[in-house]
Structures are given as C-alpha cells and as structure tokens.
Symmetry: C2
Subunit: 284 residues, 2 copies
C-alpha cells in the first residue's frame, strides 16, 4: 500500500509479526522506516491528521447507509509504554463520535464468573466505528500466564478461543489490528520515576506496577508465546518500538490510515432524490 | 465565578434559563458576552483548551482515588444546530479516556418496551468522567409531544420523572449541565441546503429532517414547556445562540470549565509511601 513520503519503507512490513519473529530482536529505541527525530516525527503526525480524519468520517458515513465495516485496534503493553498517549494523541485527533474506546481493568467478580471473552464481546465495535481496546482479551494469556491465574491447559485453550473469536470478527467485516508497544526496562524505570517525582503524576502510579516490573522476563516470554499462537494473516500483530513516544504514535496513525485506505471508501450515495429534497427545502 | 478575559460578562448568567425565560426572546445570531467575531472566537476557544484539559485530567485523577464526582452535559437542538460540532471541537480537545459519549437515536423496540429513562440510566457517566448526551431523555417530551408519541398525561408524568432522575444524579455527585443550541429556521435551511448541495454531505441528510422542520413552531413550544418544567437550580438549562457555530463552542467550553473550576479539584495525594516506592524502583 502507499505510505506517506516521510517513511523510508512501509512500516506495515517492518513492524508486522511474521513467521520466525523474535520479540527479543526488536530494539525498543529504534524507529523502523523513519529517519528523522522527535520534531520531524511530530510534524509527520500532524501532517497525517487530516487524512485520517477524512477516512474515519467516510467509514462512519458508509455505515449510516448499511456498510458493516469497522476497525478494532487492540493495544497491549507493559505499564507506562504509552497506550494512553496513543488514545489521546492519535485517536484524540479524530471525531470522538466515531471512536469506541474500551479499557479493560482487572476483571470484576461478575466478569470472572463468565468465560474470559464475555466482557470482550460486549465491547466489540459497531459498524462504522474505530474500536480501541486499551488492554484486551490478551491479558487472559499474559498476566494470567505470568501470575498463574489460570491453569496451563486453560491458557492453551484460550489461544484457540482467541483465534476463533478474531476470525469471527474479521469474517464479520472487522479489520483487526493488534499492537504491542515495546519499551525497555530502563525506559520504564525512567517513566515510573517521573510519576513518583511529580505530585501531579502520583495518581498514575501503583505499587503493583513495580511488582509486575520485577517479572519483566516472564512477560516478554508470555508476549512471545501469544505472538506465536495468535499472529494470523487476518488478525496480525504489530510490535512497535515505543521508547520514543512520537514514533509509536506515528506508527499507529499509519496502521490506521493504511487499514482505512485499503477499504477504498467512498462517500455513500444518497438513498433519496436530491433534486426533490432541494425543492422541498426551498419551499419550507 | 471567574471567567476568561475575553468575556465581557459571565455567560453562565447570560445564558441560563431563569424564571420568566422566553425562548422566543433569544436571538439565534447573537453572541452574549462576547464582542469579537469568528476569528477572535476561534482564538478564544484555542486559548481555553489547555485549562479544560488540565481540569478534566484532575477530575479523572480524583476518581481513581475514590472521588465520586462527574459531569453530565446534555445537548439538545433542532437538526443541524451543531451538536456534532460541539462533540468534535469542544469534547475532542480533551483526553478521550475521560469522555463518555452517548448518542440517543430513535428508540429500539426493546427500549420502547421499558420506561423512557431505562436506556438513559444505562449511559449515565461514571465517576471522574465527563458524560455527553447527544440528544437525551428530553426527546421523550419534545418529539414525543410534537408527534403525539405519548399521551398528554404521560408527557406530564415525564417532566416529574425527569426532575426526579436529575435530582438523583445531582445528589449522586453528578454536575448536570443542560444545553439547547438555538438556531433560526433560516440558518437551518442554509445548513440543510449545504448538505444537499455537497455529495460528501448527502449522508448527513434525511428527508425526515424537512418533516421535522415543518413543525418548527411546535418544537419551539415544546422546548419552552420543557424549560418551564425542568429548569432547576441544580440541573439548569442554558440556551446558547448557535447561528454562529464558533460562539456556541466557546460558550459550551466555558460552561464545562466553569463547572470544573467550581469543584476546586486538586491532584489527589498518593495513597502509598512515595519515598519507599522510589527506593523499590531504584533497586529494580
């Protein structure tokens, strides 16, 4: 697909998890396909806003006339990797009426009483929408594995259930884009440190963040297993180096824009007689 | 309350529906409290974004530590008056994670099988959120009255039910702000004409929009009755002249900022020992 001229190569190809992918080989401070620095990155992000906005509006418009297509962007990452920043700075640039955001926290008692996909299915995006999952059903094979919250057999079952669920989505006109924002442990320490150093950031910190941090290697392994089991042609994973926040935002903007471009959207044709309505209006 | 220096008087006082309010006396092309034109208005809106963003983040932050407060902004208007523009340009400037948007369309069969407030209650904002209703329970005393979708006795009952419901909300830590965007019939004709003239806007037009337009006077009367019955001290109505889109956006931004300022929000104090966590982090 076409990519904007600020890319030296299509990030889709550079970031997609293909056969033989190894998470350990991805450098969290790299910027695949982009040679500029922070300010060039911010400029490129700003330059892409108008196109993404237009495409999102077309997707929404088409749904009003019966088009079933929609997008689901899944965001996964270690704490502080920048999921919130993606939501604020990439999704925040399009019309809120076209974005369906769902944040998945620790499951409630009611949620735990159901299959792990129960709460997820309820938040699947409607036609015409860009759905964003801030954490997702992948927590059920990530923290669940690392913390032993489910048996090994149940975790194995879940990979298959996830693939079935995502196949349902893609067969039902949902474009599924799965993103892992990849930071280094040192970068995370810096970001947590800032939260502890600034009183206006204290609310963002939780002592449990350090508990999870101490299991870094286990989480990386759980991510690798999840990629091995669930990176499919129709519901691909993208691992985005995220030590540089601006790069991660630019890359996600590109993934969305690319997905929308591939839909070859057009403004829907009126399902009424335009001239007749113009005459009615003039007389009113 | 304080108001930004670009206001010549506090729009809260100028726009609020008080005793003796008459909708017919409000000029849709006026800009109460603001003497500049479109470009000054756009500048003022941009200047207010950072403060609104900060306040919204504080509201959200406080909720993470148990504060129950939240805001509900109700938007009502004739077609094309600019509800969507408020959502896009005012709400779109704050973090999407702090905004809970609900659009109420024509009720479904399931919704009609319940009391009119059933679907509304489900969308009431959570603690820390700014909820926005694009249309609302007021449709059940507006179109329902104009179109005779409910008996006169049922409509009368609904005013009381609305007041009870909104009292519940305000007693439950919700700040309720109700806005009617007020345009003139001529301005609406222009805006509908644009939708018919531009193929990329055809999807926004519905022949039913003209049917409703032909009942303009009935709708104005239904609004007046709704104001008479439901403008309360705790859940006030504001009628915002909206022929000039920029003015309506600036006014809504001010209403939200003012409501948040009145909460006297502060960054929440850490509920953990900061020094202890800093030491743990450094060792990790």
């Amino acid at each position: 697909m076409n990519h904007a001229p600020h890319w030296t190569a299509d990030p889709i190809d550079l970031l997609r998890v293909d056969d033989g992918f190894r998470l350990a080989d991805v450098a969290p401070d790299s910027t695949p396909g982009f040679e500029g620095g922070k300010s060039a990155g911010a400029q490129a992000l700003a330059a892409g806003v108008a196109r993404l906005e237009e495409l999102q509006e077309q997707l929404f418009a088409c749904s009003r006339l019966g088009d079933e297509r929609r997008i689901l962007l899944v965001l996964q990452a270690m704490d502080t990797a920048g999921k919130g920043g993606i939501v604020k700075h990439v999704m925040g640039s399009v019309d809120p009426q076209g974005v369906q955001l769902a944040s998945f926290k620790k499951p409630t008692a009611e949620e735990l009483a159901h299959d792990f996909l129960w709460r997820i299915r309820k938040e699947a995006p409607e036609a015409g929408m860009i759905g964003v999952f801030d954490r997702s059903h992948y927590e059920d094979v990530l923290i669940a594995r690392v913390r032993g919250l489910a048996s090994p057999e149940e975790i194995e079952r879940r990979y298959g259930a996830i693939n079935d669920f995502e196949r349902e989505l893609t067969e039902g006109a949902t474009t599924v884009i799965k993103v892992m924002l990849h930071i280094s442990p040192d970068e995370q320490r810096e970001r947590l440190r800032e939260r502890l150093d600034r009183p206006d950031k204290h609310w963002k910190f939780n002592p449990g963040d350090i508990d999870e941090r101490l299991l870094w290697g286990d989480y990386q392994q759980a991510y690798q297993l999840a990629f091995d089991q669930t990176a499919t042609g129709d519901a691909p994973w993208f691992v985005i180096p995220a030590n540089r926040k601006w790069y991660a935002r630019l890359a996600v903007q590109h993934l969305l824009t690319d997905a929308l471009e591939r839909m070859e959207l057009e403004w829907p044709k009126a399902d009424y007689d335009v001239a007749e309505q113009q005459a009615r209006l003039a007389a009113s």
